[in-house]
Amino acid sequence: MEFKSINQLKSLLEENKISVKEIAETYIRKINEKKDLNIFIYFDEDKINEQVKEIEKLPNNKKLKGIPIAVKDLFCTKKMPTTAGSKILENFHPTYESFVTQKLINEGSMFVGKTNLDEFAMGSATNTSYFGNTINPLSKKGVPLAPGGSSGGSAAAVAADLCLGSTGTDTGGSIRQPASFCGVVGIKPTYGLCSRWGIAAFASSLDQAGVFSKNVKDASILLEAIAGHDERDSTSSKVEIPNYSQNLNPDLNGKIIGIPKEYTLDGISDEINMVWENAINSLEKKGAKIKNISLAHTKYALPTYYIIAPAEASSNLARYDGVKYGFRSKDVNSLDEMYELTRSEGFGKEVKRRILIGTYVLSAGYYDAYYLKAQKVRKLIANDFIETFKECDFILTPTAPSAAFPLNEKQDDPIKMYLNDVFTVPASLAGIPGISIPYGKDKNGLPLGIQLLGKHFNEQEIINAAFALEKDYE
């Protein structure tokens, strides 16, 4: 049995055609059948059954009553351990609930498990996790594909129909890129729309929670559930959260869509450019006007990101010292040795690489040349978007430079791996919202995503446009 949408399952529940217990049984069975994909770091049937009893008592007007949700294992959850995909947080049992997961619990959702991710969300293929690779459910026999990353487990969980929605975090593309690879909808809202409280920190000026779903309407339902101000995150915004799902409107008459010339890159396949072209034509047919725009500093976004994100990570990850929680190296003779060996054994290669780069660019004598310089270029990148949005309502681009690639393909060269985020990082640096929806397939039948970018706190605009485009493939 496959449920197509949140509203469909909610109706069945309200009409007593299915019980919360049956929903739990259905998804437990599905997850057990797909264990070989390694989508979940934590999955425990008993924990799901415990929730059933609580959820059954809730009134039907709870927006997500009984809806199965998978949670990226970067969100602290009180009833399930949290690892951030790292050995250093093995056996960590948070004593508090993250803001986002608490909001989902409050609305009655059922957590089916914690999904795999790149270690501390650092990666683009869910292949840096201490708990092994996740396999893209769309893989053909014999050729396992990457689900993208870092929220690869959450994207794969929706694609494999192991939940109706999942949480992700996006620092440089970690929701949008895996959504594109797995053929699902993924939205990264404006920086500050959802509280970061209880999310293991990677790069705090960029980290943003968001959601995956099977369709745009479900994404809008989930987003309005997790958004909101929280005084425990001083960067969380006080804007009023619109009722995105009720305001859904596919009418694009008079809208102006920016097409940035800098997103036409050498070496990008014709198929990706074709999908982009198709989406442009479709928007035009639906009454929108196309405007060619320029985001002049686009090419500098990736190098800027790979200074700022590691710098913030090196500072954020200083807390993993083997004293307060998680893994501690055995047989040490001094405090310093305990720190050094704990971190050496507890962190994986990519995390170490980023901590060291971050430490270097923040160190005395190099701070101005690297970190400060990157913050200045970041300002120019953000300004490009602000200026451009004076002339257009939203921007349309491809989501990723390729379809899902075979696992392990791009591991040797870090810069090649970093290029996965070429279309997603600029919006992250500017803090603007972005949504990726599947829009066509390549010659191997793999989904390709397109990305819509909007003004700060104007999620409704890009959700509406995505809603309109989604109809082309219904």
């Binding site: 960590f92 049992h93 004593t95 920086y191 500050g192 000026s205 005084e231 001083s234 960067t235 915004s237 006080k238 500093h297 090419k299 500098y300 190098p303 800027t304 790979y306 200083a318 004293v323 307060k324 929680y325 998680g326 893994f327 501690r328 040490v332 003779n333 001094s334 405090l335 305990m338 050094e340 060996l341 971190r343 050496s344 290669k349 170490k352 690489r353 901590i355 060291l356 780069i357 430490t359 270097y360 160190s363 690297y370 310089k373 990157a374 913050q375 200045k376 270029v377 970041r378 300002k379 120019l380 953000a382 060269d413 870090p414 810069i415 640096l429 500017a430 803090g431 700060h456 706190f457």
Partner: protein, 95 residues
Amino acid sequence: MKLDTNTINKIAKLARIRLSEDEAKDLLKDMNSILDWVEQLNEVNTDSVEPLANISSSTLPQRKDEAKDINSSDEILKNSPDKLEDYFVVPKVVE
């Protein structure tokens, strides 16, 4: 080549991460190629550009300085790999 083995070991010491010789060699290669790649930012004229540290459009709010009891010491200590009574235990620091 921006980094040599000495520099990388110095950074590793600052970050409290012990590297094996092989690891240091590997990381040296990767980090040098990453640092060469980010060098392209020098093409951008950033004279008179303010660095962007906080993208949040609102200014950071102030709140009343009030004590709140949100964590018990039991909860704080719960995940510690080694504890004694109300304390975290670490290797001896003072002889």
